[in-house]
Symmetry: D2
Subunit: 250 residues, 4 copies
């Protein structure tokens, strides 16, 4: 409890290399911008950033072992993420690591894996206005927000968002062009927690917005690994019963 | 965040006066035993205890205003709780106060009010064994528990427990005599949170059990008022629209 | 299964008497218009319509006993509904009757009673456009809908809608003026089901819209009483245990 | 609506060939026994049975196209199910097909795929008594059940069952040896529905039990494909906005 929450920020890191406009907005990459913000938050510690091009995409067993919450941003190269690393991250979540999936990460292998669905949606790039409404005001992820906040120019994501019903739905977005979207969604998976948060884009400077950063910070705190949580069993053969059995067999 | 969670413990306080056996187990009353435990927990502060016989049942506006989490134990005298106080407590929960309802509190006016259902169940007093299984291992209320814990002699509560489906179901009980029960249930109500926790009885010394106390402490932390949460509106007439409207009327 | 679903349509019936414009749109009252539609649906039977001014508001024990689904429209006179009738309707729902709450019925005593919350929201009358998006496409209430449908001129209802998280969230509304709303919400309460459906107004002819009527019809089928469902216990003292108990007491 | 629900029963079909005891209980295989029962139910039609050893495991595109609900029983050979067929079945579910996963099918590839978790549990074969309690009495899957029903000799499955929280939890099991289990669980996935039902074993004659068969029949009706449900989008690029946008870009 007293010790800090250890965060790793993963970013596929492709846009920043291919597109000068993106590099200008995020000179250290999207991961760098997010890490810079998170480092300043009390009780959080950024233990690593990692990108697609690193060996094992930077997500070695050692890195995951010291990660309480993993952030995931990706867009262009979902297919290049190795299945073995997806297995490893899924296993880390089921074992208690938190996962924050951002924006176009909705279509990543790891998010689809944890959801069991297709995770498709409607989208449009028209630099339109988005308004995010809080619908679960007592949830820790809503801390410090007003009834709604706005992003003046965003990519639109619209329903049907093909996800399982969230355990807790915190935010719903309104878009100028006529769509709505479940933008802040919480799920339990195994011993871990998953938070999907919609905003974010490579060319709109979304990850400098104060409210967006507040939600991400809150999400990290909410999703953080619980040190004291009970062991999650795999399939266990219970040789002994806990109470006497009078079976017909015996 | 840095400041402590302010807890008030309410107990109808009737058993302790009528029954020597109860008074012997809980010489300061059930509220006193719970308050003694909670006072020792880091980050928690007991701001009040209160009982049925006090004016306004000890739950004045002033007391609720300084309460982040209210514990509720009651059994014999649900009907004697004044409706005006039930209204006040409900309003406090909807405004962000946490509420922990214990054991026979399932049949209190305030719990029925917040659930919208009858909150009935099966019960039997046979001093039988209860085993509480964790079913949501990453939830903060499960912190520090093993896969299950036992109470050697308890009153049985069995399904159908007439409650709305919990937002999060943390614990399910097994009873020696053949019943099961959803024993640790979480709901959001307005800006507040409600946690129902089954164990507890006036003549079994349940509130000295280390696991039971752990769950109650975890429950208090989970349900605590969020200082920064957005204002919950009542019915609000929005005179201005946020975006231009091209209505057919105008 | 083979027999029809028996529907009762309740309408406070005040607007129609006070306001010629409303009477013109709904010459038989809102209840009359809804009943006319429901009567034409295969497998549905309208057994009664009822209004506030009737003795017992037309909701006698006899009427509720033969009702599988009750529709509830109200706006001006929530406070005039007698508490004894609210008790009776709540009890009918907990015993298996379905309840469809329409539009401004969100602020009725019976809806608040079943939700346990304040059921407040934002609202504005600007004859603006509403677009209702399906978010749970396989749910029976979405049968026959497209990805979304529109109402050209409606009263706006906006979040935060102070309700418990729905068991199933089927529809989310977008409003031209900038708000979103959980417009089609399902809950279990006791043995009964509750469906809240937002559209409807006294002066916009919403209840002639084909999609709105489709959702209401689907809602009736979804919420209908299940003849074969297990008895819901109140508080039951189980004298006998189902399995032998080796308690410390005996 | 008028037309029947088309059911396919899948069984890996390995036990029946290897073990005479199993073949004796289920001379036509577990799939044969289930199909025989379902064929007799009004409104249901068994369009196919299929087993592991058939080409494409008997689950061709053609078979799935005419299947409204697929039953899945498996135990020994989960690993031999081809990934391409798992993909196909998952896609069929997301497109609207219902899936009933029985007993040891909890550890099948398709169930893990749709859940996103490990789906592990505790188990023991001691021919002990199981008692299944209804906890959601108004749910269609509980139709015709009493408050509980019993199986005299079963294999035990115990918590923690590593699944996402069900959208609707209908049944909880009690086991003589001291465990509990969420035995009847409902989820939405894409346009389809998934029902997990615990009972069933190769050597206990579970699939002749009247209550077990009732639950399976109810589950088939609940999970059946909805013909009229809205198209589920994959990722769709919306070239046009539905409402005018005043973006900063233009």
């Amino acid at each position: 409890m007293a010790s800090s929450i250890r965060v790793t920020v993963w970013n596929e890191g492709v846009h920043e290399k291919k597109d000068e406009a993106v590099a200008k907005i995020y000179p250290k990459g999207i991961h760098g911008a997010l890490a810079d913000h998170l480092r300043k938050q009390p009780g959080l510690e950024v233990v690593a950033t990692a990108t697609l091009e690193e060996p094992e995409h930077g997500l070695t067993e050692a890195v995951l072992a010291k990660t309480d919450v993993l952030l995931w941003w990706a867009h262009l190269a979902h297919g290049e993420v190795q299945d073995a690393i997806v297995d490893r991250v899924q296993n880390a979540v089921l074992s208690g690591m938190g996962l924050i999936v951002l924006h176009s990460g909705h279509y990543s292998k790891i998010f689809k894996r944890l959801m069991g669905t297709d995770c498709g949606l409607r989208w449009r790039e028209a630099a339109e206005k988005e308004r995010l409404w809080v619908v679960l005001p007592g949830h820790p992820i809503a801390d410090g927000l007003s009834a709604y906040f706005e992003l003046p120019h965003t990519e639109m994501y619209g329903e049907i968002f093909d996800i399982p019903q969230p355990d807790e739905l915190v935010l719903i977005s309104w878009f100028e062009g006529g769509e709505v979207f479940r933008s802040g969604c919480c799920w339990h998976r195994g011993k871990g927690k998953v938070f999907y948060f919609r905003p974010g884009h490579e060319t709109f400077p979304i990850y400098y917005d104060a409210n967006v950063l507040k939600v991400i910070t809150n999400g990290v705190r909410w999703a953080a690994r619980r040190e004291g949580s009970p062991a999650k069993p795999g399939c266990i053969h219970c040789k002994e019963s806990l109470s006497p059995i009078r079976s017909g067999k015996d």
